[in-house]
């Protein structure tokens, strides 16, 4: 018995150790990026190889902000504006539609649900270039609107909220209806406040999606004052070839925001995925 238990313990220990190693490998590239951003220029790539800098210096960051051709801070601001507005609007659109599909009866409900769900099977590639053409015709290129509008409704998110609303007890609603509350009031005053967890999960995923998006801004925005952070990093990469310190400094600042968001809300997010298998 004790031999078996010992074997069990050793196996458990090895498992934990292995898990820890994989976890460290997963975050290592990000740590490597952050360390490099604080290295003096000659140590970023230089010989002999050093894991840590001999002295931690802010030179790369200073150089980053001194470059006026590539407006780093204004792109952080522009991307924040886009991501925050888009997150708020997307959440409003998705929760409203999800509530109607989960809790209300109305004509053409089935066909409208089909219209929403079918979009999940239409890959982005099929709509991206024609959407760009439409935007160009509407003279919306190089505006905040073109960055924000196209991905505001995402069938996956509507589906996610609908599943959540379907799981809520009908009795809450009945009581409110008897008290004379309207459907919209029930949605707004009862359902939304009870949806913190899915709101956080979907909200973070929308924000991160906008923050990280690259191909759409590259097609639709050429005005430097609207540059999104990914475009800025790409142009650093092109400008500072071999000067990795500066690129890593910019990348560190850009990566910090989604990482911070994730760390703040990690309980919700990890639990959400492991419970439902949905992002």
């Amino acid at each position: 018995m004790s031999v078996k238990r010992n074997r069990h313990n050793i196996k458990g220990l090895l498992n934990n150790l292995f898990g820890l190693i994989v976890a460290l490998i997963s975050i290592f590239p990000l740590i490597w990026m952050a360390i490099a951003s604080f290295k003096p220029e000659n140590e970023v790539l230089g010989f002999p190889f050093r894991l840590l800098p001999t002295r931690w210096v802010p030179d790369n960051y200073i150089q980053l902000f001194a470059n006026r051709d590539i407006p780093f801070l204004s792109s952080i601001k522009a991307t924040l504006i886009v991501s925050i507005i888009a997150t708020v609007l997307s959440l409003a659109i998705a929760t409203m539609a999800a509530y109607a599909f989960a809790r209300l009866d109305f004509k053409f409900k089935k066909s409208m649900w089909a219209i929403v769900i079918t979009t999940m099977y239409i890959p982005g590639i099929a709509t991206m270039i024609p959407a760009f053409i439409l935007m160009a015709r509407m003279n919306l290129l190089n505006t905040y609107a073109v960055l924000i509008l196209p991905s505001l409704a995402y069938a996956y998110n509507i589906l996610f909220f609908r599943q959540f609303f379907l799981s809520m007890p009908v009795s809450i609603e009945e009581a409110a209806l008897i008290d004379g509350a309207s459907r919209f009031q029930i949605f707004h005053k009862i359902f939304l406040p009870m949806s913190t967890s899915p709101m956080v999960i979907v909200g973070v995923s929308i924000f991160v999606g906008y923050w990280n998006s690259f191909v759409w801004p590259s097609i639709t925005v050429s005005d430097p004052s609207l540059y999104q952070v990914t475009q800025i990093i790409q142009s650093y990469n092109a400008t500072y070839a071999q000067k990795y310190g500066v690129v890593m400094a910019g990348s560190t600042l850009v990566a910090v925001i989604p990482i911070a968001l994730f760390l703040i809300f990690q309980r919700y997010i990890v639990k959400g995925i492991t419970l439902t298998g949905l992002k």
Binding site: W32, A36, I129, A131, F214, V215, A255, P258
Partner: protein, 304 residues
């Protein structure tokens, strides 16, 4: 009496419900109409014309499709996309399947830490992952070559060597997706009822028997979901290969979207041509997903 009252109430409520419901779903339908359906129909109709931004368009049937199918570079990009699928999808599935088992056996505190850590790369932009790995893959003294040197292996030009470039580009993509896939696999794993294993234990089933008879069949839906998700995103790869190699060297990493992106920016071809290409990529995605679906589902029916 009461039931009549109730009926009347539900009737008037229904009329009201209709209005409220339409009001609530209108914004979602509007956005989907303008940014998914309208572009899709525009793509379908314009792909059969020689329309470009300027000038008129003429209906030319399927000429664009024939033209782009004959284009060497477009064909290369489709083959590359399938190569990416062939490398990334199996690796992701195997890694996440194995690591989900590790996650399952972790002590609870360690489990929380490990799950969060592997998920962190998921929130990182493809562009950032690309520049980090360009730095790691640097020829003169990037980390990857330092490690190879430590083991006495000679330096590699990871991104410039036509033989290595595709694999090198896969690495950051696998890094970005590993955490999410592992957590989804883990979710599938912990949802398998314990009784299955208990009764298998009573029957004296070994580790591999349990794996093949219980674990893998029970994870079929999870694997299907992950597979379709992976295939769809992998065929539409853009950010990582575009930033890391720009599609090179010798077009070894050019993907369909990089090709279409470049073609939409140049004036050599009409927009109709580019749109035909986009629709063809959509067809490829649907085809591969159908095959995946058939393969996984047919296994299931054989089991039942």
């Amino acid at each position: 009496m009461r039931s009549i009252l109730k009926k009347e109430k539900t009737l008037s409520q229904n009329a009201h419900n209709n209005l409220t419901a339409y009001f609530m779903i209108f914004p979602a339908l509007l956005v989907l109409a303008i940014f998914v359906y309208a572009p899709l129909f525009l793509a379908i109709s314009k792909s059969m014309t020689n329309w470009s931004f300027y000038g008129t368009s003429e209906f030319i049937w399927f000429k664009n499709f024939a033209l782009i199918l004959k284009n060497q570079l477009f064909r290369v990009s489709i083959v590359n996309a399938l190569k990416f699928v062939g490398i990334i999808v199996p690796i992701q599935l195997v890694l996440s399947f194995l690591f989900a088992h590790v996650l399952k056996s972790l002590a609870s505190r360690m489990g929380t830490f490990v799950k969060s850590s592997i998920y962190v790369p998921t929130v990182i932009a493809g562009v950032i992952a690309s520049v980090i790995f360009i730095f790691i893959f640097d020829y003169s003294s990037g980390l990857a070559n330092v490690i190879l040197g430590f083991f006495g292996v000679e330096r590699q030009a990871f991104l410039a060597d036509p033989k290595l470039a595709l694999f090198s580009v896969c690495l950051p993509i696998i890094w970005l997706g590993f955490g999410y896939n592992s957590l989804v696999m883990f979710a599938g794993l912990i949802n398998i009822p314990k009784e299955y294993y208990e009764s298998a234990d009573i029957d004296g089933a070994g580790f591999f028997t349990k794996m093949i008879k219980i674990t893998i069949p029970s994870l079929k839906n999870t694997v299907l979901l992950l597979c379709i998700n992976l295939v769809t995103t992998t065929i539409q790869l853009f950010d990582v290969p575009y930033v890391m190699t720009g599609g090179g060297p010798l077009n070894k990493t050019i993907t369909p979207i990089i090709y279409l992106f470049n073609s939409s920016k140049s004036n050599d071809q009409s927009m109709g041509y580019t749109l035909a290409g986009a629709l063809l990529v959509m067809i490829v995605i649907t085809l591969v997903n159908t095959i995946v679906f058939r393969v996984i589902q047919s296994d299931k029916s054989a089991d039942d």
